[in-house]
Symmetry: C2
Subunit: 214 residues, 2 copies
DNA sequence: CCGGAAAACAAACGTATGTTCGTTTAGCCG
DNA sequence: CGGCTAAACGAACATACGTTTGTTTTCCGG
């Protein structure tokens, strides 16, 4: 959530946030240095400290804001959809893909820079992520109870679906071959087919035992 | 340092590689420093340079070895499976999950430290990755032509499947609740259902338009 | 047992890094 | 216009980093 104040100092704070997102996404948090960030914003390195507490604190705030936005976007999507389990699941998945297309840089950071957070900072972020995951797990359980879905393990299925849908932010480029709507539709199809009751029987007995390496 | 070596100093080179994999996986390449790596191996920082060329060169070699192993494991799995398209696809997917369970640290590095590679080093790695992806795309196209699969866009489907299956290396811990076989089986089911000809019809018209942020 | 090569050592070099500090500039309110 | 506050400046500090160097130790074949 971004507050729109007319204040001038708040404007540089936002510029810092956006430049940081760009740089962290491009190079990673550890590889981004504050001199580069300051240059991108157009101020001196020391001036950053009028707006951030520390480099680590900046990352934490970016992640926190992002996770809050993701959670509230998800809740809004669920509230806007019919209460029926499959419609709720569909809404969750569609909003997930769309959000990841629109804010791929922040998503990328939130997913791959968790290890850069100090333990005390990682805890609340992880809690929010778990809350998000649990919402999906709950929907999958509802659908399974209603006989609309067939999943052997809802947690594994949730992780797998999230990984698949989150993957779009690693290759998506705005203005590419496919429109966001097409991408969302196709991922919805893959995801819903994957957990649908029309199950594909898989025998686990014939696995390739060919992982030998020197 | 009394080294209980059986043969030669090639053993320290291997120790460096393994320690590097562990540290890069835990902290990221940029956040890992050579003093820490040397301490982990039990030598002085400068001694590393008897075995590596530069820090960047170490990362490149790790990635190159990993990609070569992944590619040859994949080719071996395909060669061991029946030539029929669906069996080939199944073998590819199963071997992918299994490999990612067994060597999750290297996989994690190869996937998420590409941006730490200098451009000249990234190129051959990216080429190998594309070769791997293209193998899957080819199998999906074969299956679609044979009428066994229904995928709107094979490239998107391949990316989505790979993202889903690769996701296991972010949460899997050896000795956890589920055996590797169970994990492979369930992911196979999700993946094959997802692209199966028994398609779930998805209308793209009702998408949540709830991504507004002020 | 010896001599040469491979590898480890201790120490340093040059630079880059996050952060601090005292000072100066710019914007707003009365 | 005058004064207060927030923010930018420029310079520095202390440390951490990748890497190099000269020297010493370890290992193995002849």
């Amino acid at each position: 959530m971004a507050r729109i104040t007319g204040s001038n100092g708040e404007r540089t704070a936002e510029a810092i946030r956006q430049a940081a997102i760009r740089l962290i996404h491009r190079q990673g948090f550890a590889a981004m240095n504050l001199r580069e960030l300051a240059a991108e914003v157009g101020i001196q390195p020391g001036s950053l400290y009028n707006h951030i507490q520390t480099k680590q604190g900046l990352l934490f705030e970016l992640m926190q804001e992002h996770m809050q936005d993701l959670l509230s976007a998800m809740e809004a999507a669920l509230a806007a959809a019919p209460a029926e389990p499959m419609a709720q699941l569909r809404a969750f998945l569609a909003q997930h893909v769309l959000y990841h297309l629109e804010r791929k840089q922040e998503v990328y950071i939130a997913n791959f820079e968790l290890r850069a957070l100090e333990k005390a900072n990682a805890e609340p972020i992880l809690a929010m992520r778990r809350a998000y995951e649990n919402r999906l797990i709950g929907l999958l359980e509802e659908g399974a109870r209603a006989g609309k879905l067939q999943v052997a393990d809802t947690r594994i299925a949730a992780y797998a679906l999230l990984a698949m849908l989150t993957g779009v932010c690693t290759w998506y480029r705005p203005g590419g071959r496919l429109s966001p709507e097409e991408i969302v539709a196709q991922h919805l199809e893959l995801a819903l087919n994957g957990v649908s009751a029309a199950a594909f029987e898989c025998d686990t007995t014939v696995l390739p035992a060919t992982l030998g390496q020197a």
